[in-house]
Amino acid sequence: MTIEIIGISVLWLFLFGYVIVASIDFGAGFFNASTIVTKKNHIVNTVIQRYLSPVWEITNVFLVFFFVGMIGFFPKTAYYFGTVLLIPISISIILLALRGSYYAFGTYGTKGHKGYTIMYGVTGVLIPASLSTALIVSQGGFIRETATGGIELDYAALFTSPFAWSIVLLSLVSVLFISASFLAYYSSVAKDQGALTLFRRYTWIWSFPTIITALGIMIELRWHNPDHYQGMLSLWWLFVLSFVCFVWSLWLLKKRSYGWSFIFVVLQFALAFYAYGVSRYPYLLYPNLTIYDSFTNETMAYALITAFIFGFMLLIPSLYLVFKLFIMNKPYIQKG
């Protein structure tokens, strides 16, 4: 295994962590807001509040880890992605900022203003959409050279690409699916029957659109990026496994085994996420950047990995403490 591969694997792990934790968070915000509109808020509010309060910064840190690590291990990405993504990523920052601060204002500051809750819900679905432009652009075909030899984002191509839109769609539905599945489990631990029924239904509702858009993307990739499509075909068994996990999770949901059902949802996404990542090897950005030509020097790479290991040894026990005290602490969850 080369050091480049270790580097990208660590980053991919952070990104996956972010996708899962953030999906739960974004989806929870969305459900919280949409139930205000449908006047079912009293059912889900306590469950969501209990879960969200202690973990929101942790979600944000995963994202920061990912891109700081990206620039650390692959500094050239700063030039390519930094130059072309100014607008989409700035929009994401602004939305993240509004969401994070107004959440804090609403929770730690003044109690329950409807405006905050709605804002929290709306930004929660817009952020995945704007962040996913980074992924879309990395598939190639959306960057063009300027007259002065620089590079810029081809907005016309981006906005008219069905491929781009289907990735946006996938990000939205999978956020709601992952979140509903987790919250169903969480409300079952909290013994909150009303919330449980609701979230179980949401999980069912969002499960099929997730699978259908995912399939759609694979088919479109055939035209958009044939190389990557070939790569995915050669890993077909991983995608099949992912599908099996999906079916299994639904079966477990039916059997009312919510914890396991959520675990299989995570496995489903993990398999697909890694299969997708491996199949695009070695490209970070088609066709300009690979993990090899954008890699930092070896000394820095080893320094980063060392820092990472030590940092992790510090973090694991602290995260365990949070987990014990808040997330999986039955008296705490049920007090709500």
Partner: protein, 446 residues
Amino acid sequence: MESVELSRYLTMLTLSVHVIFATVGVGVPILIAIAHWLGLRNNDEHYILLAKRWARGYVISVAVGVVTGTAIALQLALLWPRFMEFAGQLVALPLFMETFAFFFEAIFLGIYLYTWDRFKNPKHHFYLLIPIVLGSAMSALFITSVNAFMNTPQGFTLVDGQLTNIQPLVAMFTPAMPTKVAHVLTSAYMTSAFILASIAAFHLWKGNRHEYHRKALALTMKVGLIFAIATALVGDLSGKFLAEYQPEKLAAAEWHFETEGEAPLVLYGVLTETNEVKYAIKIPYALSFLVHSNPTGVVTGLNDIPEEYHPPLEIHYFFDIMVTIGVFLPTLALVYWLGLHRNWALIKRRFFRLLLVASGPLAMIAIEAGWWFTEVGRQPWIMRDFMKTAEAATESSHVGIMFIAFAVLYLILMIGTAVVLIRMFKNNPVEKELEKEAIEQRSEAK
């Protein structure tokens, strides 16, 4: 306008907003820890309540610090892609570790906030503050070391545009780093102390006579005094550092043109078209003394430095603002402290209390001025001697519109923070909270 200039303005804007919350984020944990410790030791509910209330306000500030920090971290790559591509190979380590340090702090902060009554031994709850204090100090250390690197880059060799012989630790511990880190830390502690002092002084000024506010004011002013003196001492060392490693910055700040001994310290004043200093206060020998601890020491002047490397001369004013406040605040704190021990009536006067109210905002202005001084004073370099700011900026033509968008965002954040903080403490005044605790304790005793 060029995208370089716009990128500079946007960076300036984001950092100037971030530093407000960053400073509070670094400094306030220490004050919470002191109050909490005093409360436990003396079994004094006032101090415990101080720690509780400060911690509650602190979370709001951390939240805004997190989001503005995320903004600047991403903007570094969005606005300065060439710089990050190049420097990323050299300073990725401290950037990466900053995230870890912050994460560590955030986790324990979350636990501290939600576990006031969950420990059997209240000391254990207090110990949670240790990782918070350490984590925030470490994140300041790491991020400041990146900035130090930009001023005095080292730890690599450049051969035909290729970086070789890279040593991440040498790049982290640059000559600029010790004074910078020390100055940032002491100034953050001092500023946070004065900000909390302002709040207490404000209540006293309004006529509230509660013991709680008196204790808060006495405590914060003492801490403020200690760190204000430390800040000034380290500031002096920073001046000596500049004279040796970035003489152009010091010379520009001091409008010092001729290289000479017995150099005076120039305060205030204006500069004419022909670079003559007018209306300034000149303290004889003071600049030489500042730099060499010797009134005849020779100080490099701007005329010995190629014109194209001259930093903008306006940084003189930023330096003046910082130093003025840096002298005024320890003096104020000293007068208060003496007055407290000798029962001077002066310190209870309304106008004196008004000065105390001003201390927090003044300290924050000094922080801003200090950063503007050091950052503008690095121009035209982004990485001194290796990369010009103009070479580093993005080519994108959309920076202008992003500047407007972020300006609106920061305005919303600042107003939101102010409104929420004010409402949070107004709706829940000290008296009410003390009463509630007393009732709870009585019912527990039964």
